[in-house]
Symmetry: C2
Subunit: 463 residues, 2 copies
Amino acid sequence: MLAAQATDFPRWFQDVIAKAELAENGPVRGTMVVRPYGYAIWELLQEAMNRRIKATGAANAYFPLLIPESYLQREAEHVEGFSPELAVVTHAGGKQLEEPAVIRPTSETVIGEYMAKWIQSYRDLPLLLNQWANVVRWELRPRLFLRTTEFLWQEGHTAHGSAEDARAYATKILYDVYRAVMVDVLAIPVVAGRKTRRERFAGAVNTMTLEAMMRDGKALQMGTSHELGQNFARAFDIGYLSREGQRELAWTTSWGSSTRMVGGLIMAHGDDDGLRVPPAVAPIQVVVLAVKDEAIGAARTIAGELTAAGLRVSVDDRADQPFGRRAVNWELKGVPVRIEIGPRDLAAGAATVVRRLRSAKSAVALSELTPTVVDALEADQAHLLAEATARQESRIADVATVGEAIEAAASGWARLPYDVIGEDGEDRLGESGITVRCLQRPDGSLPVEDDESGLTAYVGRSY
Amino acid sequence: MLAAQATDFPRWFQDVIAKAELAENGPVRGTMVVRPYGYAIWELLQEAMNRRIKATGAANAYFPLLIPESYLQREAEHVEGFSPELAVVTHAGGKQLEEPAVIRPTSETVIGEYMAKWIQSYRDLPLLLNQWANVVRWELRPRLFLRTTEFLWQEGHTAHGSAEDARAYATKILYDVYRAVMVDVLAIPVVAGRKTRRERFAGAVNTMTLEAMMRDGKALQMGTSHELGQNFARAFDIGYLSREGQRELAWTTSWGSSTRMVGGLIMAHGDDDGLRVPPAVAPIQVVVLAVKDEAIGAARTIAGELTAAGLRVSVDDRADQPFGRRAVNWELKGVPVRIEIGPRDLAAGAATVVRRLRSAKSAVALSELTPTVVDALEADQAHLLAEATARQESRIADVATVGEAIEAAASGWARLPYDVIGEDGEDRLGESGITVRCLQRPDGSLPVEDDESGLTAYVGRSY
């Protein structure tokens, strides 16, 4: 049904997206239709992310989709980085526009323009904004969820009164928001580090990243947080009157996470039978499957009890369709717990509980069903994280040379001193389609300042 | 500070949007920046709407922003209606596109294309989809919240096995979702009816609408629900195999509500002192204002208690700024309840409670604060609805001729038999900038079928 992961991982990824009805290609090249099941995962993820973003003090706002072309040009590195990917509106309302408008590829420029208006004095700092939006970046090799011409994301943009405050906030977003969601909600372990100079966001002075290992050993960048220094403040004149009455330039940050995380969820947890969705973001945590018509009433009663216990539950009452096909379909969709109820179960006052992560079925008394399911969901959330963590650890090889790193990257990641690599080594890795995913200090913490010696590099192939 | 409503309502509207920090103009003509306070109102409104939409059985999904130009052309009335408003992407990724892509003005066409793929048999019906998205319609006379080139909305799209089922669902959305949110959440009374033929959505066979009266007597269309008949099913080949094994065309609907509702909230409730936000969508339901520095601790304690009771609370601890200016600012923002706490209040074990809807202040014992505030919010929500309902009723004049209707529309709406108006009368009204807002049967219910005789027309100026 699905291609096997070991045989053809990219094909497996495509298959599972299509068969679990997560998404499909849109009519304009590289765009994506997110189907209800895929969108429901995104909504739960979004809610978890949004709550944590607000807890840091940021407020949501909304800035326009269309940005005057001239805005992009104000920050030199930024325009250079994004120019090749822009979609441009030249005509509107039946006329040619005087100045073409680009569809936002990201919103530093337009938000910078408004921050400059809104910030007058040190009292207005920090200004902490976030928006949930669609962005468009024309992709040469589009891939559903991972690299689509249009994608959904949140982008945070903040302004601060000092470099230290900006750094502390960007770091807080990386750890307390992004890593927390990825680990606690998506059950995906991540390595936190900073990007090398060449991998930085266009216009940033420092890019921090979270890298996750997929089941094929490749890395996926799951979220990034950037210190923009005073680059955008200078370009858009984001200044403020300090406590001492001096006019100063602000320090800004930006940070983003997108529908790409859904791609990460698929590739970090899915197996040859399909998706395995962590209970925390499972649109359907429990499906109650009536084996025969006469069990439909009982299935609904059970579903009602589980729903009342706060779970997300669906009833499969298609008793006229082959049982096996229905069961396989729910496995494909990665629903954590399936409860099968047939006449025999009913007679015994029990139901059959099948968990997506285990192969054994078990009979559970109806009176024990709710606590059993609640425990199972909690255990399975932890199990997925433990499994992914063990796999990631086992596939990171400590090596000493660039050559060994290239070898190790065939099946996982390599870890080695960044001093061994250097700019030349990055070129050599690049020739083999491998990049430095991130840099850490020896104790695993984020490097500070521009000092890049004595750092550990994580190296691998990536999406 | 603000223009007076009676003197210059449009200017008052602009002023209140700017001074309450709800929104401002974007850099591309007609676009809008929604600032955090305005966006927070939208989020609460969105949440209330989303919950009710899901309760009807619809699922959220996401379809692409960019639509091939050729899709728009498949439904003749649709393309005619939307062509003048389209924004067109002609270049992307550094190249001219083979086929230009339009930015969605609405998504019937692209969703129709996918419905055709997803629907095979009667078992797949009804298919109930909704999406929260941005759309772009190039506006000649843009106005914040009411008519912006880009706006945020939800658009629902459904397919059914019969005209009756489609009609029943479109009607359910109008009443159980839209009217429920407008009345119960926004505290805005609405008149439900159908649009005349000329006011129909481009491509619809029937457009149902909810019309609200603003404080200047003009009408605002707050939400519409369309029966599309088989027009889009024919254009996009949305067919299914019936229970009897026949291939049939589906019947589709679409329905939308947007950030325009925030404009409605401002104009239905605001007064010369600023906004008056219904408690149900107030981002800040209660502000606790520390009059002096020494009251800041107490203000925080009170805020903590109110937050624990489930209220949305903010503390104003800017004790170094003039008290009067702070109080006026919270009135401007329409925060329903303001609690002032100063040294004298503290000594008396009380706080001063000021409600946005009343002029009197009252001293309330600290121990009574939470229940007092909870009651006040509930009463004020009801009060706003009652006030708006009374105003609307008092400003609808029952008239007998088109001439009288034109006269009545100078200060409110006119109600008269549609048979008196006819197509000619609609032309005459149009010359005075007046339209038939909607038609009802004499008992206030929605007209059925195409029969348009014996109906009551609501006539007025509109936004």
